[in-house]
């Protein structure tokens, strides 16, 4: 019997592939810091539940392809992304917008460039799941900033198709992002 609490993050990640106990230990270690991070922004239990739940489910489902240096840092970036997603889906109360903080013009933290890179990668993780052609069009549009006409020429398709593919990508993305956010109540 292994005692999971004595394992390092790296060891946990290694046994995570087919081992729910390793997952449980990761939950045990980091759920609270992730929850507190989301709560500082959302100030709402239901929202934080949604966000953290999404992050852990996604973490479990994509475990086979995760290459992570720091589990905690990685999950925190995922929470940061999911919080944006939660706000975007219009799930926050009106009072949330009265609390938007003021920020100063200059960066106050030294790792800004690194953090941009991390969040950019996280965003791309979610874009990767789109069907191939759709994905290629979307990438050229949003990353290489090509116009629809330029994309059409490069891929040998019509502008109309490009437009459709981008709409499809956005729709799929929204659906995927919002998929855990709708709940029904019986009574």
């Amino acid at each position: 019997m292994i005692s999971y609490s004595s394992l390092s993050d790296e060891e946990l990640m290694a046994s995570l592939q087919d081992d729910a106990a390793a997952f449980n230990e990761i939950y045990e270690r980091y759920w609270s810091v992730l929850y507190r991070s989301a709560f500082n922004v959302l100030k709402d239990e239901e929202g934080c539940m949604d966000v953290i739940q999404d992050v852990f489910i996604w973490f479990w489902e994509s475990r086979s392809e995760l290459k992570i240096n720091s589990v905690k840092a990685y999950l925190l970036v995922a929470v940061k992304y999911k919080v944006a997603n939660y706000i975007r889906n219009g799930k926050v109360r009106e009072s949330f917008y009265d609390r938007i903080p003021k920020i100063t013009g200059n960066a106050e933290f030294p790792d800004e460039v690194l953090e941009v890179k991390e969040l950019r990668e996280m965003i791309e993780r979610f874009v990767v799941d789109l069907p191939d052609r759709c994905q290629e069009v979307f990438r050229l549009s949003r990353k290489e900033h090509l116009t629809n006409k330029e994309i059409a020429e490069r891929l040998g398709i019509t502008e109309k198709t490009v437009e459709n593919q981008i709409n499809k990508a956005l729709k799929q993305l929204r659906k995927q992002l919002g998929r855990f956010s709708v709940y029904m109540f019986l009574y």
Binding site: Y27, N40, K102, I103, I123, L177
Partner: protein, 392 residues
């Protein structure tokens, strides 16, 4: 920053269109928010352990695998006990009435073995797997979900990487006459499937807003509670919704009604044929424990003997003032025999208990002993003679 600007910012973050400058801006906001503090505040956030448990439960329901278990070995111990009881009563009877010997010998000649763990699994792509024949090991892979059978016949669905572009896939497990099986769903819900029944279920609940399954025939459900994901069972024209509880649904077509029996908690059953103008009590009913809803044209509700209704899933027949015709329906489904219902004596009620894990002759003997009737099996059809009417 104004509401609209902020909404635009998070929109661009989530759909992947944000520039590096916008990502940096969002990061700064996020940092600013984090200045509120790093420790757990019970006043704002509630009790930490409670939240932790609740959240873990919600996550677990979404990621646990489906498991399908044969029922057989569950009730070996009941079977042994029942055989002893039965032997005892038969001996006593033989002692008093020697004419029984003859009929019993007739029965044994053409004896029929009880049903067992038999089922066929149909995958989303139409492939079928016979679960009784399937060898142990990896059975199939579908939409990133692996199905494996291990030594004790248990089937487990393990989700690998779930591709979000895959639509939710459904599998169907169907038992033949004389078969039974158990399915454990990803949320921990257990479903016992009786003979000649089928259950259609999603292979993963990860993307769903409700846990919806479809049933034909009979099944007993132990639904794991979830406030966020209602559990819905569609059977024929009836739909049942529940958050978590134990109940039995019997929807065999030859029963003439869909009967839902509640053991604990509460469930709502609705008549799907009456979408509009639903009348409370007739087209939609809230059941309490020990109540049974019967849906023919409308619902009727009565209090029933719950143990009798669910005995089958523990491997028993349990009759409590049960009409012979109802008993014979159960017998025919479990032993894969037909019954000549034209000749069946009316208004004959039985109370008793016997394992389902014995040969058909044993069950019929028990009924003969207590009911003044005689059975004959010809070509897998049971014929019944009413001894009360026959001149002795």
């Amino acid at each position: 920053m104004k509401k609209e600007e902020f909404r635009n910012l998070v929109e661009r973050i989530t759909d992947g269109s944000a520039s590096d400058v916008e990502i940096a801006l969002y990061n700064r906001y996020y940092h600013q928010y984090q200045k509120a503090g790093a420790s757990w505040s019970e006043a704002d956030m509630g009790e930490e352990t409670a939240i932790k448990e609740k959240l873990k439960q919600r996550i677990d329901q979404k990621i646990k695998p489906v498991v399908i278990v044969p029922l057989w070995r569950r009730y070996i111990k009941y079977a042994a006990a029942a055989v002893v009881l039965l032997t005892l009563s038969t001996t006593l009877y033989l002692y008093f009435n020697t004419s029984f010997l003859k009929s019993s010998a007739d029965l044994v000649q053409q004896d029929i073995a009880p049903g067992g763990n038999k089922a066929v699994l149909t995958l989303a792509d139409g492939r079928t797997i016979n679960l009784s024949d399937a060898v142990n090991g990896n059975l199939a892979e579908q939409a990133g979900i692996a199905i494996t059978k291990n030594e004790d016949g248990k089937l487990t669905y393990t989700a690998g990487k779930v591709n979000v572009n895959h639509p939710v896939s459904y599998n169907t497990i169907a038992t033949p006459v004389g078969g039974q099986y158990q399915v454990n769903l990803p949320d921990g819900t257990k479903v016992w499937l009786n003979a000649a029944s089928s259950l259609k279920f999603p292979t993963s609940f990860a993307k769903l807003k409700e846990r919806k399954v479809e049933l034909t025939g009979e099944a007993y459900f132990e639904v794991t509670h979830s406030r966020d994901l209602p559990f819905v069972v569609k059977s024929g024209k009836q739909e049942l919704s529940v958050l978590g509880t134990h109940f039995n649904i019997n929807s065999y077509p030859d029963e003439g009604a869909i009967r839902t029996t509640l053991l604990q908690g509460s469930v709502i059953v609705r008549n799907l044929e009456k979408v509009k103008n639903k009348q409370l009590g007739k087209d939609s009913v809230l059941l309490k424990p020990e109540q049974q809803a019967s849906l023919k044209d409308v619902f009727s509700v009565k209090v029933v003997d719950v143990e009798g209704v669910t005995a089958w899933k523990d491997g028993n027949f349990l009759f409590n003032d049960t009409d012979l015709k109802d008993i014979m329906k159960q017998v025919s489904r479990w032993y894969n025999v037909s019954v000549d219902y034209d000749e069946i004596p009316k208004n004959r009620f039985f109370t008793g208990f016997i394992s389902r894990n014995v040969n058909l002759s044993r069950v019929l003997e028990m009924l003969e002993v207590t009911g003044n009737i005689q059975f004959k099996i010809e070509d897998k059809t049971i014929k019944i003679t009413d001894l009360k009417k026959e001149p002795m």
